[in-house]
């Protein structure tokens, strides 16, 4: 047996002295790094994570029981994830400085957000993509988003409501911004033209009034309108009956509508319906009904 093994070990490289001498591992570069060194020169481009070149004591991985996450040396998890060690603020500042030569000046007159809003109400968002590969084309680059505030458009009440109904989901009520996103054409420029065309068409259409718009029912209304509502009818009927019972004359509808209690009641009902119910709007409603119907509470 030992004969055979002896023969095998002499087959490839022979004795210890013939094998290339293996150097001892040097201490990692991190130990020689200063605190205020120039980091962009350590990572000038996107590079994988090198544990010996990154001086941070990073740990990553799921720990075993009563253990800690694995250290950075030989950690595959840290290699798998993308790192942005080449894009620290210092590095980006240097990029900006280099790019400055290719830029024009920001106009001095546009020094606040309101002025930008006022002179340039429409904002266009596009995205460009670069990648290393045989082709510069990227299908994602054709998406164009057009954002505009409706307050900067010249719309009257009816036009605004019609426009909001036409665009549907694309309007955000809290910020009053209409955003149209187009990507149906193959080129960015075509999409941009289409978005502008859509805006023009929406604007002009909302100003027109069609015949069938006369059939707008109460269910279509965006907010509660008190005139001609059932609430108004009920209140007037009740008040007329009260007046008739008191035999204090039969006032006309307009007179009743003009009284302070009815106006107050109208405001409360509109508030309740439009803003939704909560304790204080209900309390206000209660007070106004009390005043309207002259109810008193007698506690002993």
């Amino acid at each position: 047996m030992c004969q055979i093994s002896y023969v095998k070990s002499t087959f490839g490289l022979a004795s210890r002295s013939e094998r290339p001498i293996r150097r001892k591992a040097l201490p990692p570069r991190t130990e020689k790094m200063d605190v205020d060194q120039d980091w962009p020169s350590v990572y000038p481009v996107a590079a994988p994570f090198k544990p010996s070149a990154v001086p941070l004591p990073v740990r990553m991985g799921y720990p075993v029981k009563k253990g800690v996450p694995m250290a950075k040396e030989g950690n595959l998890e840290l290699l798998k994830i993308p790192n942005f060690l080449h894009l620290t603020p210092v590095a980006i500042k240097r990029h900006c400085e280099a790019l400055k030569d290719f830029c024009t000046e920001w106009p001095a007159a546009l020094d606040s957000d309101e002025k930008c809003e006022k002179h340039f109400p429409i904002e266009i968002d596009t995205a460009d993509y670069v990648s290393s590969g045989p082709s510069v084309r990227n299908p994602k680059a054709r998406v164009v988003t057009l954002r505009v505030k409706l307050s900067s458009l010249n719309l009257d009440n009816h036009a605004k409501k019609k426009l909001i109904k036409l665009v549907g989901e694309r309007y955000c009520k809290t910020t009053d911004v209409l955003s149209i996103t187009t990507d149906r054409c193959p080129l960015k420029r075509q999409n941009y033209d289409y978005a502008l065309y859509l805006l023009t068409v929406l604007y002009h259409e909302s100003w027109k009034t069609e015949e069938w718009e006369k059939n707008k029912t109460e269910a279509d209304m965006e907010e509660y309108v008190w005139e001609n509502s059932s609430s108004e009818k009920n209140v007037l009927q009740t008040l007329l009956q009260i007046r008739a019972a008191d035999s204090s004359g039969a006032p006309s509808r307009e007179e009743l509508l003009g009284t302070k209690e009815v106006e107050d009641y109208q405001k409360c009902v509109v508030r309740l319906k439009n803003e939704g119910e909560n304790e204080e709007s209900l309390a206000q409603y209660k007070e106004s009904v009390k005043r309207l119907l002259n109810l008193e509470c007698s506690l002993n």
Binding site: S231, V235, I242, K273, E277, N278, L292, L295, C297, N300
Partner: protein, 396 residues
Amino acid sequence: MTAKTMLTGVTRLSSRIQKLDPRCFLHGSAQAAQSNPVPAEHPRVISRTSDSDPAKHGEQHEGKYYSIPIQDLKTVFPHGLPPRFRMQVKTFGEACLMVRKPALELLGYLKNTKFSHPAVRYLLYGEKGTGKTLSLCHAVHFCAKHDWLVLHIPDAHLWVKNCRELLQSTYNKQRFDQPLEASTWLKNFKTTNKHFLSQIKVQEKYVWNRRESTEKGSPLGEVVEQGITRVRNATDAVGIVLKELRNQSSTGLFHLLVAVDGVNALWGRSTLKREDRTLIAPEELALVHSLRKMVKNDWHGGAIVLSLSQTGSLFKSRTAYLPHELLGKEGFDALDPFLPILTSNYNPKEFESSFQYYLENNWLQHEKAATEEGKKELKFLSNCNPGQLERLCASL
């Protein structure tokens, strides 16, 4: 004097003896003497008050329990009290309601009702278990004591769900009758308002079928009898009763109180189906239709007290308690203008009072329940919600 010497005893036993004595000897003036020195020495006794007439209840009675006499219970509330409360009444042998602010407010308005004006609608709303139904019962008791005619529908939800028999209405082909529910309600109505039924006369002739008819001028009791005996016509009988009462309350012969619990059932959805398994809308039920006409304020001579209820409602979220959420747009518009009254959880004084009441009745059997910590724990667990507190104490 005797009242005061009895109260100087420290043990709970003395307060029990006081409770068992007939109410009559603690009348109004003694009650004033009772409430003043007591809070200093014996906080246990302030949970009760002796005035069993809701008319005399005022702010000083707030937080105290008053008991409803047993004979009143049978006539005024044959079907009005909630099921858990009825069990409590049976266990304790007495029916005690706490006097609380929403009920006091409602009674204040009811006392000032102008009978020539159209009926005002009061809506009790609040979270689950805060006392809407019992406040309604308090108001019903008050009106019954003052000789109003009480039209009490204990739970309108019962009329839109779980109905065994649905017949096509004889009066109007589009609508549906519910003979069982109508006849039970008529029986209870008869118990409550017996003395009125002979006084009120019908103003039209009603023909039930080929052989039976009710002549003009006959007492309303006959219509009710007809409804109870001939169950097929019960729904129509209910409709007639409501119509007659509505028309005649304006004459001033009697004051009418319409009390409906769970009024959101009238405008909600129902789970009843026709033979071809399509859903029925509530307005196609004759009972609901007549009740809706009743809660409109086009009549005068009384008041309408309503309460919302999520507990029996169909297709409504458990957390819904505001009028719009439970009534829907249609219901709110139909009831508008109404006076909303909010019921809320117990305030500390009311909680104290409720706790004392349970202790006095030996309802809390747990040894730690009577201590301060036990009280704090109950307060925390129930968040001073009356319904929740009752449920917690039931298991102690």
